[in-house]
Subunit: 144 residues, 2 copies
């Protein structure tokens, strides 16, 4: 469904969110340990999220990755997915036609669009804040 990069990106963002809530910045090393991902690769993904302004980074000593605590509820999964995998997964054609077009639908268009729209709706309406809350309260987990 999502690329590895995107999975790491989502989990990393959640971990950053939790820490930002407590005013702490985190490093790729801490993140990779917490989400069970390759550190250097994770760092690259974080860079991409910074470029797309999903998260923020502070260089130098006492630096690290953070998100604005007040923006947590406005940062949606869709922003993370779009920054890393693009929006093809929730906007593109399920069978890889150049674009999904009502006037030139692929064989699964009518069936697929509902699934895709539900995915889109889910991604656009799920905030980093709620995901972070569930981790903090031990309801969900970032690694096996």
């Amino acid at each position: 469904m999502f690329s590895k990069a995107c999975e790491y990106g989502i989990k990393a963002s959640i971990f950053i969110a939790i820490n930002s809530y407590e005013g702490k910045r985190v490093s790729p090393k801490e993140i990779a340990k917490e989400i069970n991902s390759p550190q250097a690769f994770t760092a690259k993904i974080l860079q991409a999220l910074v470029r797309h302004k999903v998260i923020n980074s502070v260089k130098g000593a006492y630096g690290g990755f953070e998100v604005n605590k007040n923006e947590l509820k406005y940062i949606k999964l869709s922003q993370i997915v779009k920054a890393i995998d693009g929006d093809n997964i929730y906007n593109g054609c399920g069978l890889g036609l150049e674009k999904c077009d009502e006037n030139h639908p692929c064989p699964v268009h009518e069936k697929f669009k509902d699934v895709r729209n539900e995915l889109k709706h889910m991604l656009e309406n799920t905030s980093l804040e709620e995901l972070a809350m569930d981790i903090k309260s031990g309801i969900s987990f970032l690694k096996a």
Copy 2:
């Protein structure tokens, strides 16, 4: 969402279905032309579908790929997807945890499972027959 291989596999199966309906076998060459895919790669995917008994092949002169006309309505998209991409897309964890486990859910589990189940339901309840019918009647298309 689906791999290229899977997209080709689905489209190829539909084209084979249409022809089988008229008692005709088709070659990888005809298929690749019709679905706009690389021929040799498509042939490999067809082999996989044959191994998984989703479609049937006949070697030698006047051979080709076919499906049993009477089974068309019982062949579901899920069989094709499972044969090529495996069932991770509609059974696995959205964030790549080893398995999707209600008792050890990832952050998106509650939100994701509905989407995934709708996808699963769609794949398991969409037959090759109905997809082929829509192509035959010009309602949908196999290529851009």
